[in-house]
Amino acid sequence: MKTYTNTGNKDTRSGFGAGLTELGQTNENVVALCADLIGSLKMDDFKANHPERFFQVGIAEANMIGLAAGMTIGGKIPFTGTFANFSTGRVYDQIRQSIAYSDKNVKICASHAGLTLGEDGATHQILEDIGLMKMLPGMTVINTCDYNQTKAATIAIAEHNGPVYLRFGRPKVANFTPEDQKFEIGKAVKLTDGNDVTIVATGHLVWEALEAAKTLNERGISAEVINIHTIKPLDDKAILDSVSKTGCIVTAEEHNFLGGLGESVARVLSQHNPAPQEFVATNDTFGESGTPAQLMEKYGLNANAIIKATEKVVKRKN
């Protein structure tokens, strides 16, 4: 089984910041907006290097979304930065009308997504944002898994003409994907080959899926782990090809099972190749205060949860 090495824990939001810094040097049309969270979003470098292209909008997310839509008129490529909660739910109608329906080339970059935001609690831990964003026609939805991939995705989305929701997080997590990777929107990345089960994971759950696969391998279950960094458009073919071989699937995400990656996968399977599926996701609930590790354990979003779900789904075959 192919294994991956953690080159050292890093936060995905710093990958975003590094990608934005690089874009500042390579693409003069890239502008950045932030709603009073420059440090949290790691936008300091871009601000320092390109003050004329950086816009501090204050605690006014609705205005930020509209400003970004307006800046595309004239050829700018705006990257907005705030927490995932304030990037989506708070400004849903602004995104819907001024960006998505108006087909504006805005990159909505959202940090502190999901439970791993930690101690601030459920007011800030959005677990519904993937669903909100994937329902908007024309919106591309990306949830990256580590620092390197977040940096690569940040750079890649500047080249994509259309609205994008880029979701990443707060904690330092394993950094294991290649530093020089080419990020292809909508293209799933197969991480391990396996015959008994397909595990598709997104965001912070990808590393957990790899950890689970190691244990499962020792227990005689061969898992094919796929990193679905792009939830929309979904790589239907990668999922169907894998499930046609393994016959069952586990989906894993730091999100509500309603509206998340799992439901998108279930749609693809039900249309083309119905197969047993188990969901590793939150179960229609809000989060709470705690450390990221405590929360991921309590709400069943780690390698152990993926192992349990896998053993269950494999038994459901035949």
Partner: protein, 281 residues
């Protein structure tokens, strides 16, 4: 005094277009449209420095954003009669497969529209963003926007209004259609806003009053003054006092025609009051 006869003629023709468009589909918003007819005619025919062809980025020309998108009839008529698309296309207003959606959108590619509007309160932010893009592009042209007075009840406006002065966005002229009416009645009854002028001034804007916002000469004079105040470090707001339903006597001074179309008889009366000038579509 400039010769404004062609603007007067066009205004009358646009009124006819508005009445006929909403009558045909028995839906749409004639009241606010009629109230802003002189303003939009003057803006597109005289005030704005714009190109003949439409390009989304609008580099090196003035831009306009309609925030109160429900007055789409007047917007569509003025755009068509300013050459952005065939006047005959006004026939398709609100019909299936039309580019003239109930509220303005970019989705169907209608030339002249740069952002969807209709969900209220979003136009300030978009206009401000476009104004900042112009500054980044060293484009000295102006951005114009129009907003309803009732629309100012939406909180996002005030985020944008605060941001504009804080960032010295002085290449923007935002006009408020002060007709004192909204769907449920007078703005002073629905949610009194006090002095809008004092609010804008408190937020650091320069305010220009146009006391008769249905008089073309007054509009040209007021907008010339507004233009002269741009480039001085502050955003400029124009308070345009209008009469809802202007030009059709039974539609004037009431909110009843905010979102209601005339019947056959009412249409006939309205058309008699606005005789054909430049040719119906």
């Amino acid at each position: 005094m400039p010769n404004t006869q062609h603007l007067q003629d066009l205004t009358t023709q646009v009124r006819r277009d508005i009445l006929r468009m909403v009558h045909k589909v028995n839906s749409g918003h004639p009241g606010g449209s009629l109230g802003c007819t002189e303003f939009l005619v003057a803006l597109y025919q005289d005030i704005m420095d714009r190109k003949d062809t439409f390009d989304m980025d609008g580099i090196d020309e003035d831009l306009f954003f309609l925030s109160n998108g429900h007055i789409s009839p007047v917007f569509y008529s003025v755009l068509a009669r300013s050459g952005y698309f065939p006047v005959d296309e006004l026939n398709t207003f609100r019909l299936l497969d039309s580019r003239l959606q109930g509220h303005p959108t970019t989705h169907e590619g209608l030339p002249g529209i740069r952002v969807a509007s209709g969900s209220l309160g979003q136009g300030f932010s978009v206009a401000l963003g476009a104004a900042q893009a112009k500054k980044l592009n060293n484009d000295t042209h102006l951005v114009y926007s129009l907003h309803g007075d009732g629309e100012l009840q939406e909180g996002q406006n005030w985020e944008g209004i605060m941001y504009a002065s804080a960032n010295n966005i002085d290449n923007l002229i935002s006009t408020i259609d002060l007709n004192g009416k909204q769907i449920d009645g007078a703005t002073d009854d629905v949610l009194p806003m006090g002095s809008i002028k004092a609010k804008f001034e408190a937020f650091g804007w320069t305010v220009v009053d146009i006391e008769n916002g249905n008089d073309i000469d007054a509009i040209l004079k007021g907008m010339a003054e507004a233009k002269s105040l741009t480039g001085k470090g502050k955003p400029v707001c124009v308070l345009l006092n209008t009469v809802m339903g202007n030009g059709v006597d039974f539609m004037m001074h009431t909110h009843a025609w905010h979102g209601k179309a005339p019947n056959d008889e009412q249409l006939a009366i309205g058309l008699v009051q606005n005789a054909e000038t430049l040719g119906d579509y």
